[in-house]
């Protein structure tokens, strides 16, 4: 109220001085106006203020690139301005400024939207708000929790088989697929080429059909996906990269090609597998990504093929990969949004050779992941 009172006193003093100087009754309204104005403000704000703000996420489980909408409901018993900051999180992709303002008188509502970026289960930061009365004096502040959301990588299914075959011919399980580790995955039907020592004889006795105890495979005759989740990448780059990694892994498992995962610079590594249970482990690992500061990335175990997915592939790391594999494919994830997205996509080098590796640039969400998979 201080500023408003200062203005009123200044005007009142001037009006009174003029009234005394001119001695005119017509100046009575001029003398009364500041007091009446101040009385109006006092009537509005003389009572205790009650401000309540609630935040509700419309959809708590969503996939990468889907919009996360926060509905903000606010109410107060006095008029004023509500300033808020919502969904200001580096794991999300901002499509509008995270801060906004709302005129509040009684009940009002607003919404804030961001795109789901990094996969995982996490709680976006609290909704921070400040309510200013129309006197623009001291605000009332508060925080409202938003709650947990779950962002999942999407799975591109179109053209998966063709893509998987293009990676390399799937080989029959055997010594070439690498040794079996002691880590149990699942019981699955016997396939020709499975070692006899893995046959589950108890299951055979019960059902009459041959089953094997599937275990994780190690070795170098495999496909490894190297996913860059460094903090130099934007959340949507990593999110789309994780989705591409999941799609490639799905394609490989579908084609019975052992596939492993290495997340850099985190160092999370999953040994190669060609089983659905192994694919599940990969999916779970992709749900636990965190944007870590870039540092020297660990080299993955030896493999036939590496698929290096990054927002900014590093040449020295590509060189390192080339020394350990017969073939390296680099996917540069370069999300393109906004009015100039199509131009940016056209200007980007679509496919080329970097050192010893095949490189292709993928611009989601402009280009569907299935098309990028088909280009592999």
């Amino acid at each position: 109220m201080e500023a408003i009172a200062r203005y009123a006193v200044a005007l009142e003093v001037l009006a009174l001085a003029l009234a005394v100087f001119t001695r005119r009754l017509e100046l009575l309204p001029a003398a009364v106006f500041p007091a009446a104005l101040l009385a109006a403000f006092h009537l509005a704000y003389g009572r205790e203020w009650r401000v309540s703000v609630s935040a509700d996420v419309e959809q708590r489980t969503l996939r990468v690139e889907e919009p996360l909408t926060l509905r903000i409901e606010a109410s107060s018993n006095v008029p004023g301005l509500l300033l808020y900051s919502a969904l200001d999180d580096r794991r999300l992709v901002a499509v509008e400024p995270p801060t906004g303002a709302l005129y509040l008188s009684g009940r009002s509502s607003a919404s804030a939207t961001a795109l789901a970026g990094l996969p995982g289960r996490y709680e976006p930061p609290d909704l921070e708000w400040a309510f200013y009365p129309l006197t623009l004096s001291r605000p009332v502040r508060g925080r409202t929790p938003v709650g947990e959301v779950e962002v999942r990588p999407y799975l591109a299914k179109a053209g998966l088989r063709a893509a998987a075959r293009s990676l390399g011919a799937p080989r029959a399980p055997g010594p070439l697929a690498g040794p079996h580790s002691a880590e149990f995955l699942e019981v699955r039907e016997y396939r020709p080429g499975d070692p006899y020592k893995l046959i589950n004889w108890k299951a055979y006795a019960r059902t009459g059909a041959l089953y094997v105890n599937e275990k994780l495979r190690e070795g170098h005759s495999t496909l490894y996906i190297v996913l860059d989740a460094g903090s130099h990448c934007r959340a949507d780059s990593v999110g789309h990269g994780a989705s591409m990694a999941l799609s490639v892994a799905h394609a490989a498992v579908d084609a019975r090609l052992p596939v492993g995962l290495l997340v850099v610079p985190d160092g999370v590594s999953l040994p190669p597998t060609d089983s659905p249970a192994g694919l599940k482990l990969i999916r779970e690992a992709l749900m636990r990504l965190d944007l870590k500061p870039p540092r020297r990335s660990p080299a993955p175990p030896r493999a036939d093929t590496y698929i290096y997915i990054s927002c900014r592939p590093r040449p020295e790391y590509i060189e390192e990969l080339c020394l350990r594999a017969r073939r390296v494919v680099v996917i540069e994830v370069s999300p393109a949004r906004g009015p100039f997205a199509e131009i940016a996509r056209l200007l980007a080098e679509r496919r080329g050779r970097v050192l010893c590796a095949d490189k292709l640039v993928w611009s989601p969400p402009l280009e569907p992941p299935s098309r990028a998979l088909a280009r592999l």
Binding site: A5, Y7, A15, E26, L28, P29, P98, T99, R138, R141
Partner: protein, 168 residues
């Protein structure tokens, strides 16, 4: 801000029209000053308020002193617009969504304009009541003014301090 600018434009138009209807040097000067205030609003609210205050002083001395409260209300709205503008500038520097801030501030300005209009109406109503009373001496008007000043001081000094948080 747009609503405050519209209110000031309306007040300026009234002052200008009255100046043209009864052309005296003081009234014409006052209306010209109010036009200057309106033009200066975009640049500086304080400058606009100063112009409207000068217009108020001229109107008080002119043959149309009843129009003086209009200039007074315009001065108040200019000062309020200046404060809103400063606040808006700070918010835009902090990355706030300018369109949403502008919309919210426009609503706030509209409400304050309406409150000013109500206060103006109340003060005019009081004047006409006082004038309609028989044999009202001029001293009563001054007494009422003194009472209103006391009311201002009581209201402004008696306000409770609520939230003592840091500024946003």
């Amino acid at each position: 801000m747009r609503s405050i600018a519209a209110s000031l434009a309306a007040i300026t138009a009234i002052l200008f029209a009255s100046g043209l209807l009864e052309p005296t040097p003081l009234a014409l000067l006052a209306s010209a000053l109010s036009a200057v205030g309106l033009a200066a609003l975009r640049r500086s609210g304080v400058l606009a308020a100063a112009a409207y205050m000068a217009s108020l002083a001229l109107l008080a001395a002119s043959p149309q002193p009843l129009l003086a409260p209009l200039a007074e209300a315009a001065a108040f709205l200019s000062l309020y617009a200046s404060k809103l503008d400063e606040f808006r500038r700070r918010l835009s520097m902090r990355g706030y969504d300018v369109s949403r801030v502008e919309a919210a501030f426009s609503r706030a300005g509209l409400v304050v304009s309406l409150w000013s209009a109500a206060a103006l109406a109340a003060s005019y109503a009081l004047y006409f009541i006082v004038e309609s009373l028989p044999r009202m001496p001029a001293a009563v008007a001054l007494a009422l003014s003194a009472i209103s000043l006391a009311a201002i001081l009581i209201l402004s000094l008696g306000g409770r301090r609520r939230d003592v948080g840091r500024r946003f």
